[in-house]
Subunit: 251 residues, 2 copies
């Protein structure tokens, strides 16, 4: 029997998803809670997106061999900064990582003069010049199949550097009614390590007039990492959701 778990977490105090000796990780917390609830010695979980240190998740998906665990029981055992949203039976052999057909991420930017009073550690504070139209043009250029070699560390385990980007757009959201926030939304078949953060860091160079759109587009043809911009901080990045069977998260 296979189960599918939907998780939300605040990445601030975690050394990312993947278990590492001596580090506080989301995987270790989730597996510990599952062991207690299911009364087993080990419940190894497979995850759709191995988020890095400090990256948040609104809709992470994990799978494990075993019956579904009650959400309330899991949440009572999980620490405050991780919550189970649902846990259901999945098709036998369901694998959250292998079966995922897309992942969607959001990167939040507070583009304003004053730092965050509320969203500390939840968004990048960007008190610099930023041209929303230039950002939007970069996003449009991202859609399609490109070689993202320039957007992941040189020291890499990845063997394939091409990714299919289904959706990419910058949104100005006024969710607060008054204060604006910039959000970059992207959905692709898969992402390489730090890829979203380097993409955002490089787009912000274009938005600030320090790099041209043409230069950004050229990077998408497999240029070396050194030619792209800086890695934007992890705190602004959210794994929004994971698509299965070709169903998209962002519509």
């Amino acid at each position: 029997m296979t189960s599918r778990l939907l998780l939300e977490y605040d990445g601030s105090a975690f050394a990312g998803w993947a278990s590492q000796p001596g580090q506080r990780t989301v995987q270790a917390e989730v597996e510990r809670a599952l062991r207690v609830v299911l009364r087993r010695d080990a419940v190894p979980v497979t995850v759709a997106g191995r988020t890095d240190t400090g990256v948040h998740a609104l809709g992470q998906v994990a799978s494990y061999a075993g019956p579904p665990a009650p959400v309330s029981g899991l949440n009572a055992l999980l620490p405050d900064d991780v919550a189970a949203l649902s846990c259901v039976a999945a098709a036998d052999g369901f694998d959250a990582r292998r079966d995922a057909t897309s992942r969607a991420y959001c990167y939040r930017v507070l583009a304003r003069r004053g730092r965050a009073g509320l969203d500390r550690g939840r968004a990048l504070w960007w008190p610099h010049r930023v041209d929303f139209d230039a950002l939007s043009e970069c996003a449009r250029a991202l859609v399609g199949t490109h070689d993202f070699t320039a957007f992941t560390p040189t020291d890499t385990d990845h063997v394939r550097f091409s990714r299919d980007v289904y959706t990419a757009e910058w949104r100005r959201s006024a969710i607060d009614g008054v204060r604006e926030r910039l959000e970059f939304w992207i959905e692709a078949d898969a992402f390489m390590r730090q890829m979203n953060r380097v993409v955002v860091g490089t787009m912000l160079e274009v938005g600030g007039g320090r790099r041209t759109l043409e230069d950004f587009v050229a990077l998408l043809a497999g240029r070396p990492r050194a030619e792209a911009g800086p890695t934007a901080p992890a705190c602004g990045l959210y794994l929004v959701g994971v698509g299965y069977g070709g169903e998209r998260v962002l519509t």
Copy 2:
């Protein structure tokens, strides 16, 4: 010379806005930072909305006699959970409280089975039944001039219990792309202590089928506090912004 200060704060760790001996308050932090930046012995500030313990602000407005302070200097002196967004010269004699013609608030509800992993202390977790249409009907009934006696504690300093509600609506927002959140947005000339929280607590009774819309509407005619519902937790409430000169915050 009078200045006008726009503030954002996380109310979680504050005993509200107003200074109180031995308590950590937003007012005390702001006045302390202003004293240092302006090199004065005292800089008393007047605020548009005296938020209660635990209530957040996205756009609080305060005024003081003195020149504008540099935002970066203020933010360097303010604690992490308060930020100055702007500080500008105002018309002489401007009073953030007296001159305010409206205040807008938002109340956030996570209506779902699993508790918050990310928005801990930033929204009410409501794992109970809730009928969005019933909530919306309550909101519509709020618009106009009503006697809100039922929605503020009996032990009160208020002498006038009538308030003009300009806007009131529930929104289902899918800001996360996947996860839904319910938000109650309201703008009125002014609010009494705890008024928004009792309004929300009572609407959630209607949304859960434990109170009728007719009953809710009857409360708006000056019924006693005991007939209204519970006070919803402060953590879900945000002061969104303050209107001056008749200009509305919510449009």
